[in-house]
Amino acid sequence: MTTLFTEDLVTEITSSVWTAFLPEEEGILPFHAAPASSTLTGSIHISGTWNGLVSLTCSAEAATRATASMLATPPGEVDPSDVLDVVGELVNIVGGNIKGLLPPPSDLSLPSVTDGSLHVDTRAGAELLVDVHLSWMDEPINVAIWERVTSEEA
Protein backbone atom coordinates (compact mmCIF):
# COMPACT_ATOMS: atom_id res chain seq x y z
CA MET A 1 0.00 0.00 0.00
CA THR A 2 2.81 2.38 0.84
CA THR A 3 3.99 2.29 -2.78
CA LEU A 4 1.00 4.54 -3.45
CA PHE A 5 3.05 7.38 -2.04
CA THR A 6 5.61 8.46 -4.60
CA GLU A 7 7.63 11.65 -4.67
CA ASP A 8 6.07 12.58 -8.01
CA LEU A 9 2.54 12.20 -6.67
CA VAL A 10 3.24 14.16 -3.50
CA THR A 11 4.85 16.89 -5.60
CA GLU A 12 1.82 16.96 -7.91
CA ILE A 13 -0.62 17.21 -4.99
CA THR A 14 1.37 19.96 -3.28
CA SER A 15 1.75 21.87 -6.52
CA SER A 16 -1.98 21.69 -7.22
CA VAL A 17 -2.78 23.11 -3.78
CA TRP A 18 -0.37 26.01 -4.31
CA THR A 19 -1.73 26.69 -7.79
CA ALA A 20 -5.33 26.72 -6.53
CA PHE A 21 -4.82 29.02 -3.56
CA LEU A 22 -1.89 31.11 -4.75
CA PRO A 23 -2.82 31.66 -8.41
CA GLU A 24 -1.20 35.07 -8.58
CA GLU A 25 2.18 33.74 -7.48
CA GLU A 26 4.76 31.59 -9.24
CA GLY A 27 4.31 27.85 -8.97
CA ILE A 28 6.19 25.35 -6.85
CA LEU A 29 9.39 24.02 -8.39
CA PRO A 30 10.80 20.54 -7.76
CA PHE A 31 14.16 21.74 -6.50
CA HIS A 32 15.92 22.01 -3.18
CA ALA A 33 15.93 25.60 -1.96
CA ALA A 34 18.53 26.84 0.47
CA PRO A 35 17.67 25.92 4.09
CA ALA A 36 15.87 28.57 6.11
CA SER A 37 16.88 29.72 9.55
CA SER A 38 13.28 29.93 10.71
CA THR A 39 10.64 27.38 9.78
CA LEU A 40 7.07 26.33 10.57
CA THR A 41 5.72 22.78 10.38
CA GLY A 42 2.12 21.72 9.95
CA SER A 43 1.25 18.07 10.52
CA ILE A 44 -1.85 15.95 10.26
CA HIS A 45 -2.51 12.32 11.20
CA ILE A 46 -4.23 9.69 9.08
CA SER A 47 -5.69 6.62 10.75
CA GLY A 48 -7.53 3.62 9.39
CA THR A 49 -6.34 1.12 6.79
CA TRP A 50 -3.03 2.99 6.92
CA ASN A 51 -1.65 4.90 9.88
CA GLY A 52 0.83 7.73 9.78
CA LEU A 53 1.24 11.44 9.40
CA VAL A 54 1.84 14.02 6.73
CA SER A 55 3.98 17.04 7.49
CA LEU A 56 4.56 20.26 5.60
CA THR A 57 7.55 22.36 6.63
CA CYS A 58 8.21 25.74 5.09
CA SER A 59 10.32 28.75 5.83
CA ALA A 60 8.72 31.46 7.94
CA GLU A 61 9.20 33.75 4.95
CA ALA A 62 7.28 31.40 2.63
CA ALA A 63 4.49 31.02 5.19
CA THR A 64 4.19 34.79 5.55
CA ARG A 65 4.15 35.36 1.79
CA ALA A 66 1.52 32.65 1.32
CA THR A 67 -0.60 34.17 4.07
CA ALA A 68 -0.34 37.64 2.56
CA SER A 69 -1.37 36.33 -0.84
CA MET A 70 -4.24 34.15 0.39
CA LEU A 71 -5.68 36.86 2.63
CA ALA A 72 -4.88 39.69 0.18
CA THR A 73 -2.93 41.50 2.90
CA PRO A 74 0.42 43.33 2.60
CA PRO A 75 3.19 41.01 3.93
CA GLY A 76 4.14 43.56 6.57
CA GLU A 77 0.62 43.53 8.00
CA VAL A 78 0.18 39.76 8.28
CA ASP A 79 -0.99 38.58 11.69
CA PRO A 80 1.15 35.72 13.13
CA SER A 81 -1.99 33.77 14.05
CA ASP A 82 -3.07 33.89 10.41
CA VAL A 83 0.31 32.47 9.35
CA LEU A 84 -0.28 29.46 11.62
CA ASP A 85 -3.81 29.11 10.23
CA VAL A 86 -2.54 29.12 6.65
CA VAL A 87 0.13 26.47 7.30
CA GLY A 88 -2.48 24.35 9.09
CA GLU A 89 -4.95 24.65 6.22
CA LEU A 90 -2.29 23.87 3.61
CA VAL A 91 -1.23 20.66 5.37
CA ASN A 92 -4.91 19.83 5.90
CA ILE A 93 -5.56 19.97 2.17
CA VAL A 94 -2.34 18.20 1.17
CA GLY A 95 -2.99 15.51 3.81
CA GLY A 96 -6.61 15.15 2.78
CA ASN A 97 -5.64 14.56 -0.82
CA ILE A 98 -3.02 12.02 0.25
CA LYS A 99 -5.68 10.29 2.36
CA GLY A 100 -7.80 10.12 -0.77
CA LEU A 101 -5.24 7.73 -2.25
CA LEU A 102 -5.87 5.18 0.50
CA PRO A 103 -8.51 2.48 0.66
CA PRO A 104 -11.35 3.43 3.01
CA PRO A 105 -12.03 3.74 5.81
CA SER A 106 -9.52 6.37 6.86
CA ASP A 107 -9.85 9.32 9.19
CA LEU A 108 -8.04 12.64 9.10
CA SER A 109 -7.16 14.48 12.31
CA LEU A 110 -7.30 18.21 12.76
CA PRO A 111 -3.97 19.82 11.76
CA SER A 112 -1.43 21.18 14.22
CA VAL A 113 1.33 23.71 13.58
CA THR A 114 4.61 24.18 15.44
CA ASP A 115 7.71 26.32 15.15
CA GLY A 116 10.69 24.58 13.62
CA SER A 117 11.02 21.21 11.92
CA LEU A 118 9.18 18.04 12.80
CA HIS A 119 10.98 15.64 15.11
CA VAL A 120 9.69 12.10 14.74
CA ASP A 121 11.05 9.45 17.09
CA THR A 122 11.89 6.54 14.79
CA ARG A 123 12.60 4.38 17.84
CA ALA A 124 8.87 4.54 18.59
CA GLY A 125 8.10 2.80 15.30
CA ALA A 126 7.90 5.45 12.60
CA GLU A 127 9.29 5.07 9.11
CA LEU A 128 9.91 7.91 6.67
CA LEU A 129 8.28 6.92 3.37
CA VAL A 130 8.47 10.10 1.30
CA ASP A 131 10.54 13.23 1.81
CA VAL A 132 9.99 15.79 -0.94
CA HIS A 133 11.99 19.01 -1.05
CA LEU A 134 10.50 21.80 -3.15
CA SER A 135 11.08 25.46 -3.82
CA TRP A 136 8.56 28.28 -3.88
CA MET A 137 9.76 31.83 -4.55
CA ASP A 138 13.26 30.59 -3.69
CA GLU A 139 12.03 29.47 -0.28
CA PRO A 140 12.13 25.83 0.90
CA ILE A 141 8.99 23.69 1.16
CA ASN A 142 9.25 20.13 2.48
CA VAL A 143 6.47 17.53 2.49
CA ALA A 144 7.06 14.25 4.30
CA ILE A 145 4.98 11.15 4.89
CA TRP A 146 5.70 9.00 7.93
CA GLU A 147 4.19 5.57 8.48
CA ARG A 148 3.50 4.36 11.99
CA VAL A 149 4.81 0.83 12.17
CA THR A 150 3.24 -1.40 14.82
CA SER A 151 5.39 -3.75 16.87
CA GLU A 152 3.98 -6.72 14.92
CA GLU A 153 5.08 -5.15 11.63
CA ALA A 154 8.45 -3.91 12.84
Binding site: S16, V17, T19, A20, F21, P23, T67, M70, L71, A72, D82, D85, V86, G88, E89, N92, I93, G95, G96, N97, K99, G100, P104, P105, S106, L108, L110
Partner: protein, 136 residues
Protein backbone atom coordinates in the same frame (compact mmCIF):
# COMPACT_ATOMS: atom_id res chain seq x y z
CA UNK B 1 -28.96 36.35 -1.54
CA UNK B 2 -27.23 35.54 1.75
CA UNK B 3 -24.74 32.80 2.56
CA UNK B 4 -23.10 31.38 5.66
CA UNK B 5 -19.52 30.10 5.40
CA UNK B 6 -18.63 27.57 8.10
CA UNK B 7 -14.96 26.65 8.45
CA UNK B 8 -12.56 26.57 11.40
CA UNK B 9 -9.85 28.13 9.24
CA UNK B 10 -10.10 31.91 9.08
CA UNK B 11 -8.11 31.76 5.86
CA UNK B 12 -10.62 29.45 4.21
CA UNK B 13 -13.54 31.53 5.47
CA UNK B 14 -11.90 34.61 3.97
CA UNK B 15 -11.23 32.97 0.61
CA UNK B 16 -14.74 31.53 0.30
CA UNK B 17 -16.31 34.81 1.43
CA UNK B 18 -14.28 36.67 -1.19
CA UNK B 19 -15.46 34.27 -3.92
CA UNK B 20 -19.11 34.52 -2.87
CA UNK B 21 -18.79 38.28 -2.50
CA UNK B 22 -17.53 38.52 -6.08
CA UNK B 23 -20.73 36.76 -7.12
CA UNK B 24 -22.80 39.41 -5.34
CA UNK B 25 -23.69 37.22 -2.37
CA UNK B 26 -23.75 38.67 1.17
CA UNK B 27 -21.78 36.47 3.56
CA UNK B 28 -21.75 35.70 7.28
CA UNK B 29 -19.10 33.45 8.80
CA UNK B 30 -19.02 30.78 11.51
CA UNK B 31 -15.99 28.94 12.92
CA UNK B 32 -17.65 25.59 13.68
CA UNK B 33 -20.98 23.79 13.78
CA UNK B 34 -22.14 25.27 17.07
CA UNK B 35 -21.19 28.74 15.94
CA UNK B 36 -23.17 28.13 12.75
CA UNK B 37 -26.32 27.08 14.62
CA UNK B 38 -26.03 30.19 16.78
CA UNK B 39 -25.70 32.28 13.62
CA UNK B 40 -28.89 30.74 12.22
CA UNK B 41 -30.72 31.74 15.39
CA UNK B 42 -29.22 35.23 15.54
CA UNK B 43 -29.03 36.20 11.87
CA UNK B 44 -31.83 34.13 10.38
CA UNK B 45 -31.68 31.39 7.77
CA UNK B 46 -29.47 32.19 4.77
CA UNK B 47 -30.13 30.92 1.26
CA UNK B 48 -26.89 28.97 1.15
CA UNK B 49 -24.34 27.44 3.56
CA UNK B 50 -20.83 26.33 2.60
CA UNK B 51 -19.71 23.85 5.25
CA UNK B 52 -16.29 22.39 6.00
CA UNK B 53 -16.18 18.78 7.25
CA UNK B 54 -13.36 18.72 9.81
CA UNK B 55 -13.95 21.22 12.60
CA UNK B 56 -13.49 21.01 16.36
CA UNK B 57 -16.64 20.55 18.42
CA UNK B 58 -19.52 19.96 16.02
CA UNK B 59 -18.14 18.89 12.64
CA UNK B 60 -19.66 19.62 9.27
CA UNK B 61 -21.46 16.32 8.86
CA UNK B 62 -23.11 16.75 12.26
CA UNK B 63 -24.06 20.30 11.32
CA UNK B 64 -25.69 19.19 8.07
CA UNK B 65 -27.73 16.57 9.95
CA UNK B 66 -28.74 19.15 12.58
CA UNK B 67 -29.77 21.65 9.92
CA UNK B 68 -31.80 19.14 7.93
CA UNK B 69 -33.67 18.19 11.12
CA UNK B 70 -35.06 21.73 11.22
CA UNK B 71 -37.89 22.47 8.78
CA UNK B 72 -37.07 26.19 8.95
CA UNK B 73 -33.86 25.34 7.02
CA UNK B 74 -35.62 23.45 4.21
CA UNK B 75 -35.05 26.32 1.81
CA UNK B 76 -31.32 26.59 2.54
CA UNK B 77 -28.89 25.00 0.13
CA UNK B 78 -25.98 23.23 1.86
CA UNK B 79 -22.69 22.63 0.05
CA UNK B 80 -19.88 20.69 1.71
CA UNK B 81 -16.41 22.13 1.01
CA UNK B 82 -13.83 19.68 2.27
CA UNK B 83 -10.67 17.67 1.71
CA UNK B 84 -12.69 14.46 2.02
CA UNK B 85 -12.79 13.10 -1.53
CA UNK B 86 -13.64 9.41 -1.16
CA UNK B 87 -16.97 8.30 -2.69
CA UNK B 88 -18.05 6.95 0.70
CA UNK B 89 -17.60 10.38 2.27
CA UNK B 90 -19.41 12.14 -0.55
CA UNK B 91 -22.26 9.66 -0.19
CA UNK B 92 -22.39 10.19 3.59
CA UNK B 93 -22.59 13.96 3.16
CA UNK B 94 -25.32 13.78 0.52
CA UNK B 95 -27.25 11.25 2.63
CA UNK B 96 -27.03 13.62 5.60
CA UNK B 97 -28.65 16.31 3.48
CA UNK B 98 -25.92 18.19 1.64
CA UNK B 99 -26.99 19.36 -1.82
CA UNK B 100 -23.55 19.54 -3.40
CA UNK B 101 -19.96 18.67 -2.63
CA UNK B 102 -16.74 20.53 -3.40
CA UNK B 103 -13.30 19.04 -2.78
CA UNK B 104 -10.39 21.24 -1.70
CA UNK B 105 -8.37 22.56 -3.41
CA UNK B 106 -10.98 24.41 -5.44
CA UNK B 107 -11.00 27.38 -7.76
CA UNK B 108 -13.36 30.33 -7.83
CA UNK B 109 -14.65 28.95 -11.12
CA UNK B 110 -15.45 25.55 -9.63
CA UNK B 111 -17.42 27.18 -6.80
CA UNK B 112 -19.40 29.20 -9.34
CA UNK B 113 -20.06 26.10 -11.43
CA UNK B 114 -21.38 24.15 -8.45
CA UNK B 115 -23.68 26.99 -7.46
CA UNK B 116 -24.93 27.20 -11.04
CA UNK B 117 -25.69 23.48 -10.96
CA UNK B 118 -27.92 24.18 -7.97
CA UNK B 119 -29.60 27.02 -9.82
CA UNK B 120 -28.18 29.55 -7.39
CA UNK B 121 -28.01 33.07 -8.75
CA UNK B 122 -27.06 35.96 -6.49
CA UNK B 123 -29.80 38.11 -7.96
CA UNK B 124 -32.51 35.46 -8.05
CA UNK B 125 -34.93 34.59 -5.29
CA UNK B 126 -34.87 30.84 -5.92
CA UNK B 127 -34.70 28.73 -2.77
CA UNK B 128 -34.01 25.06 -2.21
CA UNK B 129 -37.72 24.35 -1.69
CA UNK B 130 -38.53 25.94 -5.07
CA UNK B 131 -36.43 23.19 -6.61
CA UNK B 132 -37.99 20.41 -4.56
CA UNK B 133 -34.99 20.09 -2.28
CA UNK B 134 -36.98 20.51 0.91
CA UNK B 135 -39.28 17.56 0.24
CA UNK B 136 -38.67 14.69 2.63
Amino acid sequence: MRALVVDDSRTMRTILSRILGSLGIDVNQAADGRDALESLDAEGIPDLALVDWHMPGMNGLELVAAVRAQSRCDGMFVVMVTTESEPEQVSAALSAGADEYIVKPFSAESIGEKLSLLGIDANATVSRTDLGGGER
